[in-house]
């Protein structure tokens, strides 16, 4: 009897936590937990998407005018940057699974750089909003929507009536709240990336104990997907108007 027990114990890798009966149970629990956590994140962002839906219906012209002030070029670049970072993250998970330490470190570094690039571009956009007096509460002026200035090489947009122009502040409130919460998630993610980088360089993942990386991958892709919804809703949806 005791011998059988010994034998069983040998099959368990050292990183199996004592309260799980098998490695399979441990892995399944971890990824199930992660999916549940992402569900809470969906509910979290869901509150803002609901607000967006309602106010977009109410203040449609203000939302159109507001979204026209965003830079398609910067937005698209950022989308590309983020999707690429999801790719490098997926590569990282693959490298971890196939126990390629070098590849894992490289992927994490690339993901970090791309994440930084995203935040950099985002801060350029935020700065632009600051200059244009489009930051709700702190520095906001709706007059640019009543009397739009002609951009070089583009037709002048028709101005909005004053009360509708003022409602662009709601658009920008949501813009900052949504992209801000998204950016916060990226910053948290990058903190975790640094943590994984240090551990990877120490060889902590060489033994196949990579549940953390896999679940972080899910998180990173989730943050990416949130952006995939934000980008069309905030930048693209009213372009033709």
């Amino acid at each position: 009897m005791a011998v059988v027990h010994e034998g069983e114990h040998h099959e368990h890798p050292a990183y199996q936590r004592h309260h799980f009966v098998s490695m399979e149970q441990q892995k399944e629990s971890a990824s199930f937990g992660m999916w549940l956590f992402l569900l809470t994140e969906i509910m979290f962002f869901g509150g803002m998407f609901t607000a967006y839906l309602i106010y977009r219906n109410w203040y449609y012209p203000a939302f159109v005018a507001g979204s026209h002030t965003l830079s398609i070029v910067l937005g698209t670049t950022n989308t590309a940057v983020l999707i690429t970072s999801s790719f490098t993250m997926a590569m990282g998970v693959w490298c971890a699974e196939t126990r390629k330490r070098g590849g894992l470190i490289l992927s994490i570094i690339l993901t970090l750089i791309l994440g930084l690039a995203f935040l950099g571009i985002k801060s350029v956009e935020y700065h632009e909003k600051w200059v244009q007096h489009h930051v709700p509460g702190l520095r906001f002026d709706a007059m640019t929507f009543v009397h739009p200035k002609a951009e070089p090489g583009q037709p002048v947009e028709p101005g909005l009536p004053l009360d509708m122009a003022q409602h662009t502040e709601i658009y920008f409130s949501l813009y900052f709240a949504m992209t801000g919460m998204h950016a916060l998630h990226m910053i948290i993610g990058m903190g975790l990336l640094v943590f994984m980088l240090v551990k990877a360089m120490r060889g902590a993942y060489d033994n196949g104990n990579i549940a953390f990386i896999e679940n972080f991958g899910l998180y990173w892709h989730f943050v990416d997907i949130v952006w995939i919804f934000l980008f069309p809703l905030l930048y693209l949806i009213s372009r033709h108007q």
Binding site: R17, H18, H19, F20, V21, Q25, E28, S29, F32, G33, L36, F37, L39, T40, E41, M43, F44, F45, G46, G47, M48, T50, A51, I54, Y55, W58, Y59, A62, P136, G137, L138, Q166, H167, E169, I170, F172, S173, L174, F176, A177, M181
Partner: protein, 553 residues
Amino acid sequence: MSSIVSLPDQTTARIPKRNYLTNENGILSWLLTGDHKRIAMLYLISITFFFFIGGALAGLIRLELLTPQSDLMATDTYNKVFSMHGIIMIFLFLVPSVPATLGNFLIPIMVGAKDLAFPKINLLSWYLYLAGGSLTLWAMINGGVDTGWTFTTPLSTHYVNTNVVTTGLAIFVAGFSSIFTGLNFIVTIHRMRAPGMTWFKLPLFVWSHYAASILMVLGTPVLAIAIVLVLLERTIGIGVFDPTKGGDPILFQHLFWFYSHPAVYIMILPGMGVISEVISTFSRKRVFGYSAVAFSSVAIAVFGFFVWEHHMFIMGVSNYSTLVFSLLTMLVAVPSSIKIFNWAFTLYKGSITFETPMLYAFGFMGLFTIGGLTGVFLGASGTDIHLTETYFIVAHFHFVMVGGMLMAFLAGIHFWWPKMTGRMYPEKISQLAAVVTFIGFNFTFFPQFLLGMLGMPRRYAAYPPEFQVLNVFSTAGATILGVGYLLPMIYLVWSLKYGKIAGANPWQATGLEWQIQSPPLTENFVEIPVVTQDAYDYEWLERQKEHEVTQVG
């Protein structure tokens, strides 16, 4: 009076040398523990602490309302006192009360596991709770907050100059502790059940915690985002809820109640789980209609997400949606009454004994029924217009939360006290405490129904003199109630040293937790059990005992 208590011979009985309490020593072994049972104890101590702060504030409220004038404190102090009372009692006591203590302690054992799926996240949840609690205390010391526990906009965003930001942050942080608890439970119940432990062999305690966890995981993040938007509006002035900018305060109400209605079920479902265990054990019968009770928990969780607008009937929402939500509110009362009926049928022809947990459970059944039925008055949109924002609501939710959940919490604490500590509480005085609580409760809160019907509004420090008699009744009752809560505090601590040795199964109960030593080992089970019996199978228990006797013989 007959009793089922069977204790080991006190002259020879010993608390097992090796158990989760003695396994490791030193303060750090507690602060860094991953053991769900130790974390449950940490939670128990912290929520008791906050319960007494919230209780002291309640005492101040009742003292102020002894007289029609606002004389004990200034009116704005009064606003702060009832706000802090609500915030502490709801977010720092009732939401974690049963799940984070009893749930934490028992769920892994009940499903036959050695721990929750994520012990570190469990510990993190306690630290988040402490952080949220400390922030709340800090806000209170720094002048408090006077928005009510509902953080109503634009009051909270524009008009008050109290500590909305600190308190909001506190609730945000404490919310994550609740999310992590729920997440841990769901994963544990899905993935960690012992061999043979199918869903329909789970104790109903586990089912109700499962339902409550769904609400925690899906509801709490919506509260989080509502708070974030309020804080952003208050600090930098974004306009999502600000009518002067085109925002809509009603949207805040929707987001807030989308959490806070489900939250009332977070606060009651775990208590219902306790009642199922207690009623079954002290009437020696399987819970009548096991699967109906199990599914009614899930039904409450599902319906609970579709009734939130009943808190907003007079806020200018559409008449048609009022109609729909009024109807849905009636529906959510159905699964609750299924439970009450099934417990009553469990009692029918059972061999009932009246130990303290059972007394509390009876209290629960009566008071929760009154609370739930008056909820239907409030859910009917016509009567609600008359009753809303009066003391009728205050009485309604105190009947369900204090008469319901707090009774259930005390029932559970007494019921599992021998398991958690290895020692019995003193039976006679605790029966007395249960009766005192029941009497005190009714004196305190029943007059408030009458006050509400007569039109006394809630949340004011002063009131017309004709309401005084009933208010004096209420304050007098609160004094009795206070004694009822102090008693367990004293004799439970006393019993830690002087209580009788409980042995593994003093109640002759069937749950897995009663088949292991008290207090349990750190790893709960020496060997993971293989489950063949149903829940509440008292015949199986008898056979087990005979088996033991023949083996020893």
